[in-house]
């Protein structure tokens, strides 16, 4: 009896320690990145965004095979990427949302945002009886649904946008991300632009105080919630809607056209950004002008130092970036449902890399 009880207590202690351990994971990651950056020369380390991780993995693998330079990337999230970049524990960071002015100030302005690819966030839904009709939404309607002001599918504002669609009378079950994510940043950035009320009440961030809805963990969590709950509406990255064969909505853009999310319409949004030669690339392209632009699109960025302590490493990073914006690497993106950078942006990045 004593023995059993001791083992019970021991197990309890282990459980307690592991429960309390979870928030310690990130500093541990920091330590690992630090040591690998310090010891392995000829290897670059990066950390950050999870959203572009599939294409980054593919790029780093292809790059290692052609040049022999290995890049060790940890997809720990944009927030973690910015943190580690700021602390200098990695050679480069990666983020889905640009660093804020305060964050740029924290690194004394020693950062260049290099756009890598483009992604789209789509509204996906599960409305019984709709058939194959793609629903149409405009910005204010989406914002009011996510604010909890429109609660039924047959609301007259949704019906007005979708004449002829058989909309049921049921509740709209809103699904959003529960984990902090670049996807949420892009989506809330869009909502903040199209709805003043959203902008003041909720705002934009990787995680916000959602007025309504259920939180799903990860894109796959939201996808499952939409798939399984009749009447639900959520937002996911394009590839998740495509690969799960979920319908996705056409969204009205800034010039008044309803645009279906696709690689072409996302690239069109980036073309509409009209970057000047002195841009720092920290631009939001949600609700971009341009007749064919899909409005919930965004760049994703690598964060690299403007002036590096270690010139050899900096040169390696520049070389990689040059390869990455080249046609061969950009062509790999579309296979994974990321939109390649439009030609003017590629030229701008090329010029910027040359001047570093």
């Amino acid at each position: 009896m004593i023995r059993q009880f001791t083992s019970a207590l021991l197990l309890g202690t282990i459980g307690l320690a592991s429960a309390a351990c979870s928030p310690k994971d990130a500093p541990k990651e920091t330590g690992r990145a630090e040591s690998s950056a310090a010891t392995a020369t000829g290897t670059l380390t990066g950390a950050g965004a999870t959203f572009p991780n599939p294409i980054y993995t593919k790029w780093f693998d292809a790059y290692a095979r052609t040049t022999g330079v290995r890049i060790n990337y940890q997809s720990i999230g944009s927030g973690g990427g910015i943190r580690q970049f700021t602390e200098g524990t990695v050679d480069f960071g990666a983020s889905d949302g640009p660093m804020t002015d305060a964050q740029v100030a924290a690194v004394q302005g020693n950062v260049v945002h290099i756009p890598t690819v483009l992604g789209a966030v789509v509204l996906t839904y599960n409305v019984p009886g709709l058939g194959t009709t793609a629903l149409k939404f405009d910005g204010p309607t989406i914002a009011d649904i996510f604010l909890g002001k429109i609660t039924r599918w047959n609301d007259r504002r949704i019906a007005a946008l979708n004449p002829g669609a058989k909309l049921p009378a049921g509740d709209i079950i809103v699904a959003h991300r529960s984990d902090g994510s670049g996807t949420s940043y892009i989506f809330t950035d869009y909502l903040s632009k199209v709805s003043p009320e959203w902008s003041t009440k909720v705002g934009k961030s990787t995680s916000v105080n959602w007025p309504v809805g259920l939180g799903g963990k990860g894109n796959e969590g939201v996808t499952q919630q939409v798939k399984q709950n009749p009447g639900s509406l959520g937002y996911v990255e394009l590839i998740y809607a495509v690969s799960n064969k979920l319908p996705y909505a056409e969204v009205k853009n800034a010039s008044g056209a309803f645009i279906e999310p696709s690689l072409a319409s996302v690239t069109a949004a980036a073309e509409g950004a009209n970057l000047g030669p002195d841009t720092d690339f920290r631009v939001s392209i949600t609700n971009a002008p341009g007749a064919a632009a899909y409005p919930i699109s965004s760049f994703t960025w690598l964060l690299v130092h403007k002036t590096a302590k270690d010139p050899a490493r900096a040169a390696e990073i520049r070389k990689f970036c040059t390869w990455m914006i080249g046609s061969e690497a950009q062509a790999m993106a579309s296979g994974l449902q990321y939109a390649p950078l439009p030609a003017p942006v590629v030229e701008l990045v090329k010029a910027r890399l040359g001047s570093m």
Partner: protein, 317 residues
């Protein structure tokens, strides 16, 4: 005699090395715990000084406005764990009693083994199973039934979404059952046969022997088993976050989504950018830590009191 032992001890070099290693191993545990608390406190300090104790009574969680309060998280953690215990304790005790007192010898080992296997399943697998199997089943069959039969209680009212406090409690119950069951079974097995024989000799039925002789004898050990399950339920993260709906809200209905402390930390830590956001998550971890310590300390107290009040056998504890 003492002199001989002292002499032996001095000569034996290996003994001293062994003793040294064991001492180090024993010291490491408290040191680790202290480091953990120190680190957590350091991380949480900005949020502690900004929000104070109001953190545990406020319900706002707004990363954009940098306003944080953990009450819905504490509520969700406690309620989901309680649901788990309400379901798991009778079931696992029932199984344990059946296996030790009633089952034919041939089924004892296999059943205990299979239940033990449940403990080895990773929690993310439970989470996936919950999303794909449990939630559709609950939404289509169990929840509507509960609402139509027990709907007069506020606990079973409102819209049925699927992901909910109740779904999380049920998955937790399945996850903690093997722990409670196997410890309770060991405890019951350790009850001396003379106890049963004495009860039976006095003319008790099998059932009376169990309730009057076996269970009281094993009481404190069984409480220990339940506390072990509770500790696991409080800290469980992955399966819960996949099923609970992740909403910072206190709802009276068990069909409504909720949130737990461990789930919030796991969800938000990687992408938390603001310092105060990060620090608040560390504060949540500190609160979770405190809750687990309080629960464990309470359990110890309970066991001591129970052990003191019961028969000679329990004093062995």
């Amino acid at each position: 005699m003492t002199a001989t032992r002292a002499g032996l001890f001095r000569r034996s070099h290996g003994d001293r090395v062994f003793r040294g290693i064991l001492t180090v191993a024993a010291v490491i545990i408290p040191v680790l715990l202290a480091l953990l608390i120190w680190q957590l406190w350091g991380q949480a300090e900005p949020a502690v000084s900004r929000f104070g104790l109001g953190f545990v009574t406020s319900s706002t969680w707004d990363p954009v406005a940098e306003q944080f309060g953990a009450l819905p998280l504490i509520f969700g953690t406690v309620v989901s764990s309680l649901i788990a215990l309400v379901i798991a304790v009778p079931l696992s005790l029932g199984v344990a009693i059946y296996l030790t007192e009633f089952a034919p010898a041939i089924v004892r080992q296999p059943v205990a083994f299979v239940i033990g296997l449940l403990a080895a399943i990773p929690s993310v697998v439970y989470g996936l199973w919950g999303i794909f199997v449990l939630i559709p089943f609950l939404r289509s069959s169990v929840f509507p039934l509960l609402r139509s039969t027990l709907g007069f209680l506020p606990l079973f009212q409102g819209t049925i979404y699927g992901p909910s406090m109740l779904a999380a409690g049920i998955i937790l119950a399945i996850m903690v059952m093997p722990y409670i069951m196997s410890v309770a079974r060991e405890v019951l097995l350790a009850v001396p046969n003379s106890q049963r024989e004495a009860a039976l000799a006095l003319g008790a039925t099998r059932w009376e022997a169990v309730t009057s002789a076996v269970l009281p004898y094993a009481r404190s050990g069984i409480i220990g088993a339940v506390i072990l399950g509770l500790g696991r339920a409080l800290g469980e993260t992955m399966a819960v976050t996949m099923l609970i709906g992740n909403r910072h809200e206190i709802a009276s209905s068990l069909f409504a989504p909720g949130y737990t402390m461990a789930a919030a930390i796991a969800n938000e830590f990687a992408e938390a950018v603001g310092n105060i956001h990060l620090s608040s998550l560390a504060y949540v971890a500190l609160v979770l830590f405190a809750v687990t310590v309080v629960v464990n300390a309470g359990a110890r107290l309970l066991i001591w009191r129970v052990a003191r009040g019961s028969g000679a056998g329990s004093s062995a504890l």
